[in-house]
Symmetry: C2
């Protein structure tokens, strides 16, 4: 964590500066979490089903993620048929994991408040 | 989980329908996580510092949370001085915990993908 950010975290412990807005948006968080499970990538059709997105929303959010260098989109060949495949880039994967570490902190802060020892307990309230 | 939601989760495992948009917004997530740690409530001044928000942003987001019945705002007396205090309502606390359970699922899905056993490991990549 850079010095500036560490200082800010001490003064503003609940500001969660690291909650990267590009990733935090619900549809994009959904897309990235499905992609992180699939190093070989996912097709448009698979992403649409897994994340329950319309064509329009899927295209719009993938465009944002591609522009940010988080996702790479390429044409692969499945026999003679071209298929569009999306993958996390290495820097995108790192950025996603940095974001997840902040999400984890949110959950641990809330779990600490409730006096619970494990995250799993939180879903049982 | 209602039947409809369970069916949807099976078909669209990464849709995370339960990521309540009212709570997911970064500033509001920040406010609610600080409030969940303080059953007796927090003043405007404390929330502003803890969450690193401007007066305008703080007022705007608290208004949304009050309109949704998640937060209650009242005047308390500190000696002779009136102080405005914000607290989570019981239904707000439940809604926040329901949301947290979905956040936890996001983290566990991603952790599972990485073949890791604990959440803490994720922040060490």
């Amino acid at each position: 964590m850079p010095d500036r950010q560490r200082k800010s975290a001490a003064e503003h412990p609940f500001a969660y500066e690291g909650l990267d807005r590009v990733i935090h948006e619900r549809a994009r968080l959904s897309l990235l979490t499905s992609l992180v499970t699939q190093p070989r990538g996912l097709t448009f059709a698979a992403l649409k089903r897994l994340c329950d997105l319309t064509d329009g929303n899927l295209s719009r959010h993938l465009q944002v993620l591609e522009d940010e260098g988080i996702v790479a989109i390429s044409k692969d060949f499945d026999g003679h048929r071209a298929v569009t495949v999306c993958r996390l880039t290495p820097s995108g994967r790192k950025r996603y994991h940095d974001y997840l570490a902040v999400l984890e902190k949110v959950i641990l802060d809330a779990a600490g408040a409730a006096g619970r020892r494990t995250l799993r307990d939180l879903s049982e309230t």
